[in-house]
Symmetry: C2
Subunit: 146 residues, 2 copies
Amino acid sequence: MDKNFEKFKEILLENNYRLTKQREEIFKAFQQYDKKHFNAEQLLDILKKEDEDIGSATVYRNLELFQRLGILKQLDFNDAFKYYELNLIKKHHHHLICLNCNSIIEFNDEVLENFEKKIEDEYDFEIKDHTIKFYGICKNCSKEES
Amino acid sequence: MDKNFEKFKEILLENNYRLTKQREEIFKAFQQYDKKHFNAEQLLDILKKEDEDIGSATVYRNLELFQRLGILKQLDFNDAFKYYELNLIKKHHHHLICLNCNSIIEFNDEVLENFEKKIEDEYDFEIKDHTIKFYGICKNCSKEES
DNA sequence: ATCGATGCAAACCTTTTGCATGCAG
DNA sequence: CTGCATGCAAAAGGTTTGCATCGAT
């Protein structure tokens, strides 16, 4: 039924990592919440609220592990924290970050993929990944300001 | 003669900040070196080598200030450090980051600027700035690997 | 002479690590 | 049972801050 979870389990076991209660809970937290990106602190809060009080060292260690295994993707929003989002099924996407309310809107676009090829040829640089962020003022905030 | 420096001085004074020896030295370090981005530690090293031994608190405080005043631009390359580059004259540009040797190649392209307009319309989001990074393998590293 | 800027050291804050204990396979 | 995973507390590591002193205006 839950394909993501099956995939998660599979990746762990294939790489000889154990499926522990803590790893399960961390993964489920990413699946359950609307909010798409968490840092370690936010994740610890969520887990605590669900009476899954997991040590912070465990959370940090597993966020790092999950990222290495491709289960999570690490994001960076220019603050002090490392953020992570689920990476199992999501389409490649990017972020619009509101400078006023800090909300984050996801978008994706194919034009960019073509652009990538151009860069590869021009600079003889083999692109493996990219990060694209637009900073600005979102719809809601521009209404409030006016 | 030195338009950048004049501009720098102007910005400080306009905003009622004092032109100190330390601020001058920090600014000059950004102007003098080929390497385009520094973090605080690298900057402190450079200053020390030039017998301009400035306290690290001063460097951190001024990097932050210069960024607020638009003299520097803060960059983020997904490591523990904050990087800064001069922002007074440079054309808008982006970065190719080699995953192997960590070298950073700058590029700029106009296609992207058009793409931006499309995003603005589609998402009703007023773009103020953007950050675009491509991660991959640079020319030199792909030679060595083969 | 005044008040912002500096330098030192201590504090901060997120993340990492060492080590004894626990538990998945 | 074995050895990887966890949890605690301590350490690390970059950055920030308090406070006395310095120096730009």
